[in-house]
C-alpha cells in the first residue's frame, strides 16, 4: 500500500554535520576552475590570463559566503550540493570565457551588426546575484513546510509566469522571454520551482484518492475520471506552451515533472503509462502542424542535410551538425581547453550548445564527469526525499530533482542528437542570468529540506518529577 511505504524514512548513522567536508570539497571545487582557466589561457594566448586572479577570487568569495551561510543557517545540510553547484558554475564561467576569446564568434556578431561583448563578466555578476538569492532563500525560508501554505497561490503564480512570455515578441523563434527595458528574463526557469511547490502541496492532499479509488483493468489501475482532471489540465497546459510559445523544452519539463511526482505520490505504474502516451500523442500532434517545431524535428532527423548540394528548404541551421562534429572531434580525452573548434557552432555556442564545447575540449571523459556531477546533484535530491520526514518535503525534493534531471536530459539529449533540440540551458554551466538564479534557488531549497531531514531528533524531556528536583533555584 502506498500509505505504508510513503512513511519510510532513511537516515544515516554517524555524525550528521559534515560542514568541514563541505569546506574541503568547496576549496577543491574552486581550484579546479582556476586550473581550467590557466589551462585555457595558456592554450589560447601562451600566457596566464590576466583575469585569473579576479575570477578565482570572485568564485572563491561566492563559495565562501555560501558556505558560511550554510554553516550558520542550515548546519545539518547535505555536504555535496553546494560544492558541486560551485564547481559546475565555475567550469561554466571558464567555458564562457574561452568562447568569448573566439575571433570567429566576434566576426559573426560583427557580420550580424551586433555589438560583441564578452559574456563571462556578465555571467560572474549573475552568479553573484544568484548566490545572493541562495543566501536569501536559506535565511528567510526557515522551514520548507511554510511553502505548503501557498499551494494554490503558487499554481496561479506559475501559470502567470508561463503565460507572460506570450505577450512579448518572439526571440529567435521562441516566446520564452519577458523583456523589461534592457532586462530580459526567462520566467519558465523560475516557474519550474514554483510549480513544484504546487504539485507537492496538491498531490500530498490528493494522493490517496488518486492511488486507491481506481478500477483494475488488464493489470493497470485506471483512475477515476474526476481524478484524471488535474493531469489533463497539466497536459493541456504543456501543449498550449508548446503551441503558443513554441517552447519544446519547457512543456516537456513541466509534464515530465508532474508525471514523476504523480508516480512517486501514488506508486501507480499506470500514471507513467498514461503520461508517456499523452506526451507522445501531444508531441506528435504538435510537431505535425506547428512549423517551428517541425523544423526542429526535421533538423534532428537529418542534421547533415544542410550540407547537401541542393539544400532542402527546411534545413536552415548547421548548429546540430556542428555540435555532432564537435563531439566527434573531441574523442575520448578531448582536444584540450581552448584548442577546440566548437565556436563553429556560432549562435548560442555559450548557452544552449555549451555541452558541445565540453564534448570537444574535454572529450568523452570530461563530458561523463560533468554528467556524473549533475547525476550526483539529482541523487542528493532523491536522497533528501528519502530522508525527509514530512510528505510535502519528500514530494518537493523529488519534484525539484526531477525537474533538474529532466532539464539536463533535454539539453544534453538535444545537443547530442538524441531528441529534437529545444531552447533550454544547461543548469549552472550555460550562459544566462535566469537559469543561474533559478538553479541556485533550487539548490537552496534542497539544502533547506536536507537540513530539516538530517537534523537529529531532539532529546525527550525529563519527566515532571525529575524537573522538580533538578531545577537550580537562586
Amino acid at each position: 500500500m502506498s500509505s505504508t511505504s510513503n512513511t519510510t524514512t532513511i537516515s544515516t548513522i554517524g555524525p550528521p554535520r559534515r560542514r568541514n567536508t563541505e569546506l574541503a570539497l568547496l576549496v577543491f571545487a574552486v581550484i579546479i576552475p582556476v586550473f581550467a582557466y590557466a589551462n585555457a589561457g595558456l592554450a589560447l594566448s601562451d600566457e596566464l590570463p590576466s583575469g585569473m586572479l579576479s575570477y578565482g577570487l570572485g568564485l572563491g568569495l561566492l563559495a565562501g559566503v555560501g558556505h558560511l551561510v550554510v554553516r550558520k543557517w542550515a548546519p545539518y545540510a547535505d555536504p555535496l550540493l553546494l560544492p558541486i553547484a560551485t564547481l559546475l558554475n565555475g567550469l561554466g564561467l571558464v567555458l564562457i570565457w574561452r568562447l568569448d576569446q573566439s575571433r570567429r564568434l566576434a566576426q559573426l556578431a560583427k557580420n550580424a551588426h551586433r555589438v560583441y561583448s564578452a559574456s563571462a563578466p556578465n555571467q560572474l555578476i549573475y552568479s553573484a546575484m544568484a548566490v545572493a538569492l541562495f543566501v536569501a532563500v536559506l535565511i528567510f525560508l526557515k522551514d520548507h513546510r511554510i511553502l505548503q501554505r501557498y499551494t494554490y497561490i503558487s499554481m496561479v503564480g506559475a501559470l502567470i509566469l508561463l503565460i507572460l512570455p506570450v505577450f512579448f515578441p518572439p526571440v529567435f523563434g521562441a516566446r520564452i522571454w519577458v523583456r523589461v527595458g534592457s532586462f530580459s528574463i526567462q520566467p519558465a526557469e523560475f516557474a519550474k520551482i514554483i510549480i513544484a511547490v504546487f504539485f507537492s502541496g496538491y498531490l500530498m492532499v490528493k494522493r490517496d484518492a488518486l492511488a486507491l479509488a481506481s478500477r483494475r483493468f488488464m493489470g493497470l489501475y485506471l483512475p477515476r475520471g474526476r481524478d484524471l482532471g488535474p493531469i489533463l489540465v497539466v497536459w493541456a497546459m504543456s501543449i498550449l506552451i508548446l503551441v503558443f510559445e513554441t517552447d519544446l523544452g519547457t512543456s516537456l519539463l513541466f509534464f515530465g515533472m508532474f508525471v514523476v511526482m504523480l508516480y512517486v505520490a501514488t506508486e501507480r505504474t499506470s500514471w507513467i503509462v498514461f503520461g508517456l502516451l499523452m506526451s507522445a500523442a501531444g508531441a506528435v500532434g504538435v510537431a505535425s502542424f506547428e512549423p517551428h517545431v517541425k523544423v526542429r524535428v526535421m533538423a534532428w532527423l537529418h542534421p547533415f542535410a544542410v550540407y547537401q548540394d541542393p539544400r532542402p528548404s527546411w534545413a536552415t541551421t548547421e548548429q546540430i551538425a556542428q555540435a555532432l562534429m564537435s563531439f566527434g572531434s573531441g574523442g575520448v580525452f578531448g582536444t584540450g581547453l581552448g584548442q577546440g573548434a566548437s565556436d563553429l557552432i556560432g549562435f548560442a555556442a555559450n548557452s544552449d550548445f555549451i555541452l558541445a564545447t565540453v564534448g570537444e575540449e574535454l572529450g568523452l571523459a570530461g563530458t561523463m564527469a560533468i554528467l556524473l556531477l549533475y547525476g550526483l546533484i539529482v541523487e542528493r535530491g532523491v536522497r533528501t526525499a528519502l530522508a525527509a520526514r514530512d510528505p510535502f518535503g519528500k514530494l518537493l525534493s523529488i519534484g525539484l530533482s526531477a525537474a533538474f534531471a529532466i532539464q539536463v536530459f533535454v539539453v544534453a539529449g538535444g545537443v547530442m542528437g538524441l531528441i529534437p533540440l529545444t531552447g533550454m540551458t544547461m543548469p549552472f554551466v550555460a550562459y544566462g542570468g535566469s537559469s543561474v538564479l533559478a538553479n541556485w534557488a533550487l539548490i537552496a531549497i534542497l539544502i533547506r529540506i536536507s537540513d530539516t531531514a538530517r537534523r537529529p531528533a531532539p532529546a525527550p524531556a525529563p519527566s515532571t518529577d525529575a524537573e522538580m528536583t533538578q531545577v537550580v533555584r537562586p
Binding site: 532513511i10 548513522i13 567536508t21 595558456l42 520526514r389 525527550p460
Partner: protein, 174 residues
Amino acid sequence: MSELTLTVMRLGFLAVLWLFVIVAVQVIRSDLFGTRVTQRGSARRGAPDRPQRQAAPPPQRQQQQPSGRAASRGRRGAPTKLVVSEGTLAGTTVALQGQTITLGRAHDSTIVLDDDYASSRHARIYPDRDGQWIVEDLGSTNGTYLDRTRLTTPTPIPLGAPIRIGKTVIELRK
C-alpha cells in the same frame, strides 16, 4: 607553450575533475553502508506497543539530563513549539503560533500521524483565552494519554508533559 605542457595539463585537468567526482562519491558512501530505515511496518510487534500498556513510564524518563539544560528550562513561560519525541515522526517540530493543531491520520491534519493506533481525527491542541495550551481527545478509539492518564475532558498541557497517541509521543517545549 609547448605541446607537451598542454597535453600534460589537459590530462591533468581530466584527472583532477574525476578525482573530485570520486571524492564526492566517497563522501556519500555512508548512504550505502550504515543507514537506518525507519518503517511503520517493522515496528509492529504486537502486545507491548498497545496503548493500554503504554501507561508504564518509558525508559528514557529516568535518564539524567545535563544540568545546564535543566536550569534553562526552569524559567516560567509559554511553550513555543510542539515536538514529536517518539514514533515515526520523531524529530518533527511545529511552531506554536496561536493556531489549533489537529492530530490524526486524516491528510488535512496539522500533524499527519502514521500510526496504527491513531484515529483519523484523533485529538487537537489549541490555546484557550489565557494562552494556556489545551489538549482535547476527539473521540478516538484508542484514546489520548497525558502522561499516564487517559483524557476524558479538555486538559491543560504542562510544559514537557508527554502526550501519547498510539506509539507517538508529543511534548510542548519552550
